[in-house]
């Protein structure tokens, strides 16, 4: 399973979003995820990949694609 698929799984499960409507361009607002959904997803992703996503980085995510890209970079860094 790719990083993108795993992140998609986590966000979809937590925020009850149909994976079919999740694209790299989708914003959390468009996907109707509220602030609790976003925080839950961030923590779940951090724990799944054993990485840390600082708030200042998280605030830069414009859409789902940015979120996945960041996680991918952090995972790659870990080797």
């Amino acid at each position: 399973m790719t990083v993108e698929e795993q992140v998609k799984d986590i966000v979809s499960k937590i925020a009850h979003i149909d994976k079919a409507i999740m694209s790299p361009e989708s914003t959390f607002k468009e996907m109707k995820a509220d602030s609790l959904d976003v925080v839950q997803a961030l923590v779940a992703v951090e724990e799944t990949f054993d990485i840390e996503i600082p708030d200042e980085e998280a605030q830069k995510f414009r859409n789902f694609g940015d979120f996945v890209d960041y996680v991918q970079k952090e995972v790659d860094k870990k080797g």
Binding site: H16, S35, L36, V38, V39, Q40, L42, V43, D55
Partner: protein
């Protein structure tokens, strides 16, 4: 439960609440002294230790788990919970997750407790959001209103999940085998209400729950329905209005009958203690956070030592009654039947 003592272990947020840590530590010590539970105080170790010393509580009566940070009222709950990972709320919830304790009680920021519980314990499959329900037990001993403010905007299937949680609540807490369920609306006739009510009523009707239809505001206290479902916006308005009735009735009667002031004051303050009408009996001072995968009780910010002691014992009972397991089984049935997403 504790392997050695066989007792239920309850963690208590020592830093949360208007009268923390004094009243919290006092209530926790009282519960520990009663002997039915093992109590763990979670908070800034030096502050908690000093409070215990001042109150003359022996260090071996309750265990203290250090949590360096405190989430204050007014902080954005989800953000504070994420930024303050060493807060007493997050540390306490994580103790439940790790199995170090069986339940957590906090009088701190309700939103932060709910957010931390949803994030670190996860939700019961089929429950999207944590919900707080409670009884208006002074006047109506066998009702539970759900939601009381955790979710101001709700979807129809979420209200159905609250109705299921409310049914488990009424069975577990009140011992009612087949609780009646109503949805709060502006008219008792089918089809009356706002869009949310109109869309939820058919789901409740088809659910197999003991749904009796719409309930109007004047039927909340009659016990017509044991479980009254509404979104948290409506529930919170109703709750706070209800809580204000005692004080307002006393003030009005004293104004209207100034010569009887003393009798009226005594009647309300001593004979009929309805200053705070709700949260008496089982729910005194705190309530279960339903839907999260663990036992968590949220206490009123202004709670006293008695409320904390009661909350700890109520948490023990919730663990012993396996309320989370009951909810999981009930929700699973609805999901199997395709009645809940």
């Amino acid at each position: 439960m504790s392997q050695s003592s066989g007792k239920v272990r309850v963690a208590v947020d020592a830093m949360g609440g208007d009268y923390a840590p004094g009243e919290i530590v006092k209530g926790a010590a009282a519960a520990a002294r009663a002997g039915a539970v093992e109590v763990v105080l979670v908070g800034q170790e030096d502050v908690v230790a000093e409070e215990m010393r001042v109150q003359g509580i022996p260090p071996d009566l309750v265990r203290v788990v250090h949590a360096a940070e405190v989430i204050r009222e007014g902080e954005a709950p989800a953000i504070a919970m994420r930024q303050k990972r060493q807060s007493s709320i997050v540390v306490g919830v994580k103790l439940v997750r790790s199995g170090d304790v069986d339940a957590f009680v906090s009088a701190g920021s309700s939103g932060a407790v709910a957010a931390a519980a949803a994030t670190y314990l996860g939700m019961v499959e089929g429950m999207e959001r944590p919900t707080v329900g409670g009884g208006f037990s002074s006047f109506a001993p066998n009702i539970v209103v759900m939601d009381l403010g955790a979710n101001v905007d709700c979807k129809p299937h979420q209200l159905l999940s609250f109705a299921i949680a409310g049914t488990v609540y009424a069975r577990t807490v009140y011992g009612i085998e087949n609780p009646t369920v109503g949805i709060l609306s502006t008219g008792s006739e089918e089809g009356k209400g706002n869009e949310l009510v109109k869309e939820t009523a058919p789901l409740l009707k088809a659910s197999g729950l003991n749904f009796i239809g719409n309930i109007e505001g004047n039927d909340i206290l009659t016990g017509k329905a044991n479980v009254i479902v509404c979104d948290g916006f409506v529930g919170n308005v109703v709750l706070k209005f209800y809580e204000s009735i005692g004080d307002r009735a006393k003030a009005w009667m004293m104004l209207k009958h100034p010569r009887w002031k003393g009798i009226i004051r005594r009647l309300f303050d001593e004979l009929v203690p309805i200053k705070k009408l709700s949260y008496e009996g089982e729910e005194e001072g705190s309530g279960i956070l339903w839907g999260v995968d663990g036992v968590v009780r949220i206490a009123h910010g202004a709670c006293t030592a008695d409320h904390i002691e009661h909350g700890i014992n109520a948490a023990r009972k919730a663990v012993e009654a396996d309320i989370v397991g009951n909810l999981k089984r009930e929700i699973a049935l609805f999901r199997q039947q395709g009645k809940l997403q």
